[in-house]
Every structure is written in C-alpha cells, then in structure tokens.
Symmetry: C2
Subunit: 244 residues, 2 copies
C-alpha cells in the first residue's frame, strides 16, 4: 500500500505541489519518504492521484502529480453523525470510526451530562485535533472525501437549528415510550444520526428532540459503551438501508 | 448502577456464596465494597440476582443472594464470531466489543498472515486474558450470559471442522468474485461469522472457505480497520436480520 497524503491545495495547471506543513512533517519524520518515492495524494473533496516525491527535506515536501486513482466509493446517503463529546480522549475514537465507516460530517455536541464545556473544548483546540484524526482515518480507509468536523455546539442549540434531513436520536431501550427499532426507520437521502453521552440523555434533551420532530430509535437490549455506540448505530442503520 | 460480579458457582439451596478469588480481589481493591453493600451477581449462564455483601476482607468476599434481576435480553440467533488474532493487544478490543454486542461465542484463529503463533498465544496465556475481557464487558452491557472464548486454533483446522450453522466469511470487496453483500445473506438461526487479519486472507484460506461451503460476503467499499471490522460486521449482519 502506498503512503497517502492530504493535499488540500494545488495548482491544477502546473502539476506540481507542496504538501502542507503538517503532512510534510509526518512524511519526512515518520514515514521517511525520499525523492523518487511513489505516493498517493487526495484533496479531501473526492480527488485522488498518484504522485512522485521530488523533494523531501527541512524546506518541505514537493511532488509531481500523476494519474488519477479511484478512491473508496462514498456512501449513497448524506449522513451526519451528531455525537455527544465523551470523557477523556474517547471522542477521538468516535471521529476515527465515523470517518472510516463513511459519514459525510461530524457535529460534536456538549450535553447536560457531559463533563466538559464548549470553553474547555476551545481551550484544548479539540476541534483541530478531531479534524486531524479524520484525516488520518480516511488515509487508512481509502476515502478521498474528508468528513467535515464542525465546531462543537450545545445540544440544545443543535435541536433549535432547522435542517432539511431526517433526524434520528438513539435512546436507551428503557428510556421512554414512542421509540422504534433503528432498523425500522425508513431510508432517507439525508440523515442526522444523534448519539448520546456516557450517562444518556437528560429528559429535557429528549423533549427538545421530540419538539424538533426527531425519530427516537433504540438499538437492541444490551447497553453499548458510549464510545462504541456511534459506530454500531451507523453500521446498523446503513446495513438496514442496504447502503453500507 | 450497582456493581456486578461474576459468580459462576453457587449452592442453589443455601442462598449464600463466596466470590471467586479474582472477582473478590477486584471487589475489595478496586471497587472497595464493604459489608452491607448491595450488588448484582450473574452466573454466566443467564441468571442474575441482587445480592448483599456480608463479608469483604482478605479472606474473601461473601454475600447473600436476593431477588432475581432481569438481565439484558440475549440475541435471537446463535452467533459465533470467528476472529483472526490481531497484532498486539487489539484482540482484547475485538473480544470486548463482540461480548458487548451479544455474540454467544468467540473462536480466535491464527491465520497465514498473522504475526503470532498458537505456541506464542499459549505462552502468553492469552486465552485466559480474553475470557477475563469478556467477563468485564458483559458486566458493563448487562448480559448474564458469558460468551465462551474458545482456545485459539489454526484457521485451516477451523475450516476442516464440520458445523451445523451457516458460515459467512468477510472478504475485501476487491478480493475475489462470487461475493455477496453482507446484508443480502439470508437470515439463519445459527451462524459463524469469520473475520480476517490486518493483511487480509491468504488465497489458500479463501479456497478452504469455499470448499467448506462458506458464503463469501463483503461490507461496503471502504477499508475497515481490522480491529473495528468484527464489530461493524456483527452490527450490520444483525441489523439486516432485524435481530439487533
């Protein structure tokens, strides 16, 4: 497997490009690429090409673009994962897995039972970190489309937003009445799948979800770990819709 | 949530029991239970009860059994995950996730492209470790049935075994012809789902699978991480079968 690098900017006419600083650092210090090496680059918007390294040193990594390469196919659904920010570094795994399985965007939300705040996330520059995790994940899975990791917002503000897609919120089987099995939710072309934190949703949050017209859906009778629930839910939904 | 402990042996008549040594150590040293505490115990075979600690010290942890408790429901399918042993500790995560999502048994297999051997796994007592991981996982997800982690075997020997259930082997989309989408495999009441290692299957292993009558199934076009593929595959299969 060739090493892959994220090349968000390029001059379409010249056929030569320099890797962004962070990608160049990784290429030189970790993967030890050298002039002459064959690699692949992708632009995050669906384009992927072979490329040959022409320069790799402290001044940067240059390359010449070659033939287009077919990336991994994208999902036939515009799927946004709306995920509660979890404790510690667990959100990194959620972002990594969501990017791997094919989501188009990730919206982190801070919930009533979270042990963090928007201010703490901003201080920790967690949004930048999650976007880097998404880049690393799609390098591994072969996608050329980079999922956008939105800036975290309060979940109450999320429910007050308007949306054109269908909204599905995952709830504990015992949480409340009026829930359907996740695999029974009708297929849609655009969907926002909302997955909660370690302690589950606060009743006020479920009320906002109902008022926003979201479908409350449950996923089996076993309690899923909060860091595994988003991947299980996305896989289950896409499989039920025959889109995985 | 009450602390849960694994109590594989008890005297059904007396109503009192001692936790096994490893559970007692965890109860006293980590969770710091004390006489009078209310806990839950499960026998690994489907039974779960409330219990009250009567003794918790260096000689052990004793308890009196109380009312039965309803555990998380079991899957309506007898699902065995046959999983290639991965590098490092990644198999721990595979076992943990499989137990969480409801599999009945886990059969670790050593494959041609593995970086380990049956002898190395035996020296490292990895089988014991995986069974402990399964115990910890079902404590969290509320199951009272402990998935059996079989002793690892060579995957060629696995394919030579006879079985009454249907066998599905997960393959890369590009690996070979004659594959079906995982969500198109007809539902069964007993199934063995076989998931490969980091480097994929060796062609000789796929040949053995074909000769054994296994269904070769693929799961979307994106390359899944080897440690995430078993959870994604189990979730996708169960959701397609409306059993999750």
């Amino acid at each position: 497997v060739r090493a892959r690098f994220y090349l968000p900017f390029r001059d379409p006419d010249s056929g030569v490009a320099m890797l962004p600083d962070e990608e160049a650092f990784h290429a030189v210090r970790v993967l030890r690429v050298a002039a002459g090496d064959e690699v692949e680059v992708f632009d995050g918007l669906g384009g992927m090409w072979r490329a040959r390294i022409t320069q790799a040193d402290r001044r940067g990594v240059g390359l010449t673009l070659g033939e287009p390469v077919a990336p991994a196919p994208e999902l036939p659904v515009d799927l946004t994962l709306v995920a509660a920010v979890l404790k510690g570094d667990k959100m990194d795994d959620v972002v990594r897995d969501a990017a791997m399985v094919g989501v188009k965007a990730i919206q982190p939300v801070v919930t009533a039972r979270a042990e963090t705040s928007l201010a703490a996330l901003a201080r920790g520059r967690r949004g930048d970190r999650w976007q880097r995790v998404a880049v690393a994940s799609i390098k591994q899975c072969g996608r050329a489309v980079l999922p956008l990791v939105h800036a975290p917002i309060d979940v109450a503000d999320y429910w007050r937003q308007t949306t054109t897609g269908c909204r599905i919120v995952l709830v504990e089987p015992s949480a409340c009445g009026g829930t359907v099995a996740l695999y029974d939710v009708p297929a849609a072309t655009a969907v926002e799948l909302v997955v909660g934190p370690e302690g589950g949703w606060d009743p006020s949050e479920l009320q906002l979800a109902r008022e926003a017209g979201a479908t409350l859906a449950s996923l089996g009778g076993r309690t899923l770990r909060a860091d595994a629930a988003p991947l299980v839910a996305v896989a289950a939904l896409l499989s039920a819709w025959r889109m995985l």
